[in-house]
Amino acid sequence: MIRAALALLGRDLRLAWREGGAIGTALGFYFAVIVLTPLGLGPDLNLLSRIAPGILWVALLLAGLLSADRIFHNDYEDGSLDLLTLGPLPLELVAGIKSLAHWITTGIPLTLLAPVLGLLLNLPIESSGFLVLSLLAGTPAVSFVAAIGAGLTLGLRRSGVLMALMILPLYVPALIFGVATVSASITGPASPWAPLMILCGISLASLVLSPIAAAAALRAALR
């Protein structure tokens, strides 16, 4: 079972690496949104640094969702998903591993890009650490919850837009506590650790619960 799980994770990572496009698109999208924001708001550095945590987080959610409808789609389209259900792994674990692969190939690169983009928004360099921490804690929830949407919209037309509509409201808690972590590290006086811990809790809960929902969605879609 562990052998199968590792094989699946390895395959998904290799595919993401070979097909590169999804990672590149997400990173490029993130970059573009962050560049456009000051153009819309004006170059006031004080304003930018005040809203930087929020912008960095919201844009990351959108960039993460952008590639998430692919989590199951390619395997569904070429028939692999059928074959994966005939393996030793329960569908919940298949969904979890594929979400994990999405996090590694999307969540982590976006997290690493964020502090660089923070410079563009005049985010104080000392809070880059908390920005990265908050994103590391929050992006697993982004990938795992997105997998539910990917399962529900499997094989549908307009799946991307539909997914965004269904999943974005579910990101509200992660967004609030993620931004609060970064903001608290800039302005104080509250400790950034408290919201960060809550964010970790949200992520852990989604790690456990989302694969169950995603697997149920896949079962409804596989016919």
Binding site: M166, L170, V172, P173, A180, A213, A217, A220
Partner: protein
């Protein structure tokens, strides 16, 4: 043939209950509106605008109740695969969304004289707005999947995921709100409501609940009949093909 046993019994039930329910709704609304407009005193601070409450609070209450109904129906369709549960969940979503929208609109109209602006990111309004988005997602999912059995399952899963999330969203929005707007916001808590406003509020809440049940029954009946027509058409098509 699709097994029609349960829906048939349900249609029978609707036929009996409908006139009574309609009558009750009309009476409750008549009493409730009379109490709200002519009996309840204007608030010493807010004047007549306080009466928006009689629409706003019941709408908000139904917005949440409808989502609870959907979540229970979701359990029904996932665990017991009850054919009626899909129908109940599907038809409750647009009604719930409408009440949520009503709560948002009345909240915003109420906010104008209170806060001087149509929209304030108050914790309650914000949670309501997120709930509205959850409803929209649910309706969109129903619309996007053609095959009713898959649509039912998918919507049920989404409804349960949303239901688990509602308290978390509520908690985080409250937390966020206290972070940004320290306690200066008008709070509409139980203790601040004058007893003379309470009676019309309860009657209106009852009237709205009856209205919801009425609309829900009607919508379920329409959906069951629509599915029957679909099934008959399919049989017709098969017969033509054979």
């Amino acid at each position: 043939m699709i097994s029609l046993a349960n829906p048939t019994r349900f249609l029978e039930l609707v036929r009996i209950v409908l006139p009574w329910l309609t009558g009750l709704t009309v009476i409750l609304f008549a009493v409730g509106l009379y109490l709200s407009f002519f009996v309840a005193p204007p608030d010493y601070q807010q004047g007549e605008t306080v009466k928006i409450m009689f629409i706003h609070v019941p709408s908000a209450w139904l917005a949440m109740m409808a989502y609870t109904v959907i979540a229970i129906a979701a359990l029904g369709s996932l665990i017991w695969r009850h054919p009626l549960a899909d129908v109940a969940g599907k038809t409750a979503a647009p009604i719930g969304a409408t009440f949520t929208f009503l709560a948002l609109i009345t909240g915003s109209l109420w906010g104008k004289p209170m806060w001087g602006t149509y929209w304030v990111w108050d914790a309650r309004l914000t949670s309501m707005l997120v709930l509205f988005l959850l409803y929209l997602g649910l309706i969109a999912l129903w619309e996007a999947i053609d095959e009713p059995s898959r649509a039912g399952k998918a919507a049920a899963i989404l409804a349960l995921v949303g239901f688990v999330n509602v308290p978390i969203i509520k908690f985080s929005v409250d937390w966020w709100n206290t972070l940004h707007q320290p306690a200066s916001v008008f709070r509409m808590g139980g203790s601040t409501i004058d007893p003379s406003l309470l009676a019309p509020l309860f009657v209106m809440a009852g009237a709205f609940t009856c209205l919801f049940l009425l609309l829900h029954f009607l919508a379920m009946r329409a959906e069951i009949l629509r599915r029957r027509v679909g099934a008959l058409q399919q049989i017709e098509a098969q017969r033509a093909a054979a």
